[in-house]
């Protein structure tokens, strides 16, 4: 288990750079460089129908359609960058485990916990920005004040579940490949590594999709206050809360 440890890359005056942190930073840098490079290449004249542009537009349309299904149209442009960054980062981080000598940063609980905390704050930031502080906080009292503790517990457990789900999936895949290598021998875990590719895609999709649904749930307070009807804005908000544990 490398939950708490991991390989140390660098030691310098009491600072320790472990593989998970170093590799996450490297992946972030790689994504930034790729994004800037793609933008530079596309912006050149005469690139209206190049292959790179088609590829980038297909990816963008996929992500925007997925976001548009959950989030109200006014907030798509604000939520889309966050969600697609999550998708890209987690996908690349999951796939990094397939490179020989590296292990996935998302197989470390610290990295997934950081991502989950990011989602936790993003939900409230988007919700408060859309609805205003009072209307957003009133959502926690929505059917009645007696449900306030349940709302708070669900906020905490769903963040915890988000972190542990990604960590457990990636760590268990790597561990299963390792155990199979010990038991069966060289080249036997290769089919399992093929499964790793599928699992990397699915887990990245699910993490981003859950973050999107949580953000959509936070934005519902804004819609309810815009409607400003006396009836309780109960229905969708509660069903979103229920599936969170």
């Amino acid at each position: 288990m490398n939950g708490a440890g991991g390989i140390v890359w660098l030691r310098w005056h009491g600072f320790v750079l472990r593989e998970s942190l170093g590799l996450s930073l490297a992946i972030s840098l790689l994504l930034v460089v790729l994004a800037l490079g793609a933008r530079h290449l596309i912006a050149r004249p005469g690139q209206a129908d190049s292959r790179l542009r088609t590829l980038v537009e297909v990816l963008y349309t996929l992500a925007r359609d997925a976001v548009a299904e959950v989030v109200p149209p006014a907030h798509i442009q604000r939520v889309l960058p966050f969600i697609s960054t999550l998708w890209l980062f987690i996908l690349v981080a999951n796939l990094a485990g397939l490179v020989p000598g590296l292990s996935s940063p998302t197989g470390d609980l610290s990295v997934t916990a950081a991502l989950a905390v990011l989602v936790f704050f993003a939900v409230h930031a988007y919700g408060i920005r859309a609805a205003g502080l009072r209307a957003y906080l009133r959502q926690y009292l929505s059917p009645g004040p007696i449900l306030l503790p349940f709302h708070i517990v669900s906020e905490i457990t769903r963040t915890l579940a988000l972190a542990i789900r990604l960590f457990g999936n990636i760590m268990s895949l790597e561990m299963a490949a390792l155990l199979l290598l010990l038991v069966a021998g060289l080249l036997v875990p290769v089919p399992l590594l093929l499964l790793h590719v599928v699992e990397a895609l699915v887990q990245a999709y699910i993490f981003g999709m859950l973050a999107l649904i949580y953000i959509g749930g936070g934005l519902e307070a804004a819609q309810a206050s815009e409607a400003a009807t006396p009836r309780a804005p109960a229905g969708p908000a509660i069903t979103n809360k229920k599936e969170s544990t």
Binding site: M1, N169, M209, L210
Partner: protein, 88 residues
Amino acid sequence: MTDLHLFSIVSTVVAALVIALGVFFPALAMGRAISAALDALARQPEAERAISRTLFIGLAMIESLAIYCLVVALIILFRNPLLEYLLK
């Protein structure tokens, strides 16, 4: 048989039980969820996107239960906090 023997036997058996039960019930739940989704898909093929999205999210929720069991089993096997009392 010392305490350590008993401890390792019990924790191994418990870890095996945890992973067996923790896979059995989520597998049942996933099967039911998938069959319900297939029913809905056969009835309304045009709602495929919404159904498959909800199915994926639901399967992830159910799967995380099995993952919790896996994490607990691994803690019992490798990082058992109670082991310190025996080794002290």
